[in-house]
Point group: D2
């Protein structure tokens, strides 16, 4: 049967470097370290050359955290992000940045970039009038819209403005797609490698990076949706894990009473190949990539254009955009606190 | 293995009568008829008594249609809905209705009700001042919010306003959850049985119906989300259907070239039990209900609170609310056309 | 000429007690005190009986402050408001409040109440499920809309919900009209006398007070618009003041150079009756009330329905609603800080 | 006294050609004609050379109409505007336009341009993929934001995009300031002379015209605010007109009863210089320009930054943007009807 399905035809979309890290760690030329501070896990990956997995050389920093709707947690994330941005940006008095919010402000999960831009403390017009206080550095900000709305390639808009206005660096914010439901709205990726083909929720196809436009491009991304195919493949795997967990742990009457409260994913489960095939048939013999490609192939001709988001997405996106805007403002300008 | 999973514990949520109709048709006491006019399929189900499937006696009318973002199609749907509402409401000079928009205006897929209310031509305050032209009938409209935002049981708000203001009928609009991805934003359900426990996207737990408040309650609902479990179970079934379709039709080199354009769901496929079990293992032996309950059980302890919506949901919800508001306005007031 | 204009026919609308205070101070039975703390002026007026100016007996507290778009200033105002609300509300474990946001969320200057309600930490539904942590008290919140949108008298909605849900107190937030441009968005009025006929930007005609609904009603109001007639009468007065100021101070070539930077309103100017009449004709002989009534009479038949707001109203309203919501949350719940 | 006030220092802002037309008509080299069709007054002014009043040579077309919240009236205005745009644009298969929405989408009266852009049927990206049906022409659309938000000169953004994307014409939509309250939201100005210094509500200081960017620039503007100084000077004039009207017509007891219903502005009133000075003093001796400049001078040092808008501005702006977007879509694309 496998012969009839060409699993190489489809590319499941993810934009998150960390989705590849497990595999990348095994490659030579990959330096990484992981620290957990204040309940936030920070992973630094440094690729010295464009690598075997098709990723560009450069720094990939990933913040992983829990619920940002908790205000205490939110300010921890903002502090960590501010520190990372300060290190990457190395702002001085000659610095002039444009903050670019990619995405569609009319589609909630894709509105992260425009929402961040709304809260950036913009100063370039005051600088031009020599009215800028020394605590503030030179910053502009723009949301170029998405091609489906403007009819113009987004990278063309950005490039032409960069050529005209001549900033010294860009910060680009975008909503990302993830291959993993667990990371949804709980990860921020920062990279100095810019924006690449296929990145983001929409179709932003041209690269925006130091190589293409000649100035540093820091990209900040948050996975806010997963493709419908992801939840299907995740769940198929969970069906087996849940079964195996129950078989191993749910042997006593007492344990059955606590059943519903147990997150079986947090338990180590030995995989039994035969059992998995018994439960899931041929599906159980596919690896993650094969399974996702199969699902994509199955859903594609039916014409579904679905996304999976948390039910509280409207609220979470606002909180995340607050955190990112505040961090950008604090890392550029010389201010103690901006509400 | 089946013994360890109690499939009766979970109730997959759907609010759409038509999801049950196939089963209901087989029951005695169910009268139904289906007509297709102007590309719109209208199904009338009449239950003479509360039936075996737990649904209340009354009329259930379902409009099924294609893309409402096409303006020509949208006006066909509005015409059909206007006619249905006129028949149900039987407005005269003594009629006084309140249009109630259930749902959360801050969560896109749940905002249908409040968006409709925004466009209702409200006249009650003019009636009270004797300033109402004879073309208009007496109407009020309110969006009571959701309990998570107000802290008050929504049905309590509605009941207390009804008792004070004394309308002669209610029209209640709500976003629904569906068991079927195909029906998402492509179905409007109208019923004279009111709103029931578990209906709607949120938790609106008390019944609002002629029995509880003493006046006719027409409920208009549109499925705007499906639970994440639905897309998983649908896809697992599709995996088999796609496989079976390919096996049957994809035998010639030429047919393989057209592969990607074929919606295999539109083809009749004979189910082969052994093949399905080979492909899907034990999963392949479960019926739809068993499969969805299994998936719900598997996702629930992991704490996912996910919804599946079309990527263009923001735009579609606006169009649907236009159509419903226009239909309500036209069915109540004596006007030829309202933009 | 005066005979032909009946200045008693029109009542220029203001909702701000402090607009009357100068006059009220002269009345017996009025106790007041003014303190300035942290750049915020707090005026406490206590009327022991319904007074000659038609105001109800009770407490009127007015906060006057500068620009709330400055975050430091905003948090000073929030602290002062929190303290005032704590004193008035005297929350204990039996307290159960409903926060009511009056006004129209679709008209920016009238959207203060609904915006505040959006940010209230609502707990009543958790209390009913016995899930309320001891730090939180029982609160619900609702935005009943405006009569032009709902067709229902707003006070009827509030009364019927109060009767059903049985809170022990209400907090009502509303946008107000002011007679003074200087107070626009720079004053918060808190009173325990509730909401009264003619208050607010819209037409909310029935009283909501302890007398009418039997529980304490704290009203919080901010002047966000002035009637167009106000800016006309203010400016006519300013024309004279500016003239008199220039005549007195602008005598040297040097002073003329600084002309544009001088806010003449901050200088004491002796009024010269003859000069004023020379400059403004009969207009110059009218007192403030007569002038406003004349202007209202002149604008009314022309059919103008205009309002005057600051150009940055959208931004200021958001800041003010943050401050008020945060103060309400802090004065009710036992929390140190809510962002 | 006049000597102390330099009336030439201040330029009251208006962007509406028709505000000057009365004066322009008297100039040689001005061709104009006025037609009233379907309750809409259309004035065509053609300047053959840059004229004495500082306006550029070109066509100025003004639509004057009543309430667009009436849907029948709205569609008459859309029909007239469509016809005008078709004549000016002369679209053919080589045409490629960019629709540019100037203004701030976060400030209601300034949001006209961005709201129009949201509704433009954009096709350029489909054209680039050769997917464009022959009924549609090549169009892109963008809202570049305002300098206060982006920090970038708006004309720089537009110029750089034009240079990159190479359209054959621009349509620029903007909210305007008016010198006349009567024209507020009741006038659309179309011109082929582009956008000029000082135009629009914000500070868009550089010209965008065929001369500066080399392609035709059609500007569509609607006056949505008047400066506070305008309502003051209008009202001062009205005070006299109202007085004179009352003196002339209100002589019988019966006429006094109907007083409030009479719009005195619609009656011809002979001006009596002495009487006006008696009533208004020196104010009564100033002409319109002198009066507005005086008022501006008086309000400026007090730091007021106020605007005057109709109370229903949020609703009216939506209707106007619908009309303009529909007219642009219909004049470019070959479609019968777009909702």
């Amino acid at each position: 049967m496998n012969n009839e399905v060409d699993l190489e035809k489809y590319q499941i979309r993810t934009d998150l470097a960390i989705d590849y890290i497990e595999e990348e760690k095994k490659l030579s030329g990959v330096n990484y370290e992981t620290n957990t501070i204040n309940d936030i896990t920070i992973t630094n990956v440094k690729l010295d050359s464009n690598n075997a997995l098709g990723k560009k050389k450069g720094k990939y920093i990933t913040l992983e955290f829990e619920d940002v709707t908790d205000s205490e947690n939110a300010s921890k994330v903002a502090d960590a992000l501010t520190k990372i941005l300060k290190d990457l940006l190395k702002i001085d008095d000659q610095s002039f940045g444009i903050v670019i919010g990619l995405g569609n402000d009319k589609s909630t999960p894709d509105s992260l970039g425009p929402l961040v831009v709304n809260e950036i403390i913009v100063t370039n017009h005051l600088y031009l009038l020599s009215k800028l206080s020394s605590n503030y550095k030179r910053v502009a900000a723009i949301s170029p819209g998405v091609m489906g709305e403007t009819g113009i390639e987004t990278s063309d808009i950005i490039e032409s403005i960069v050529n005209k206005v001549k900033p010294t660096y860009l910060i680009v914010i975008d909503s990302l797609a993830s291959k993993s439901i667990e990371r949804l709205n709980k990860t921020i990726q920062i990279t100095d490698t810019g924006i690449h083909p296929g990145s983001g929720i929409g179709n932003k196809r041209k690269e925006i990076s130091e190589e293409t436009i000649g100035i540093p491009v820091i990209a900040i991304g948050v996975p806010t949706v997963v493709d419908a195919s992801v939840i299907v493949s995740d769940t198929i795997n969970f069906i087996y894990k849940n079964y195996a967990f129950n078989k191993e742990y749910m042997k006593t009457p007492k344990s059955k009473l606590t059943f519903n409260n147990v997150n079986y994913l947090k338990h180590k489960i030995e995989e039994n190949k035969e059992e998995k095939e018994f439960l899931l048939g041929v599906l159980g013999t596919l690896n993650d990539d094969e399974l996702q490609k199969l699902i994509y192939e199955v859903l594609n001709p039916v014409g579904y254009n679905l996304m999976v988001t948390p039910k509280e997405i409207d609220f979470v996106i606002k909180k995340l955009s607050n955190i990112i805007a505040q961090s950008i403002n604090n890392s550029i300008h010389d201010i103690d606190k901006i509400n």
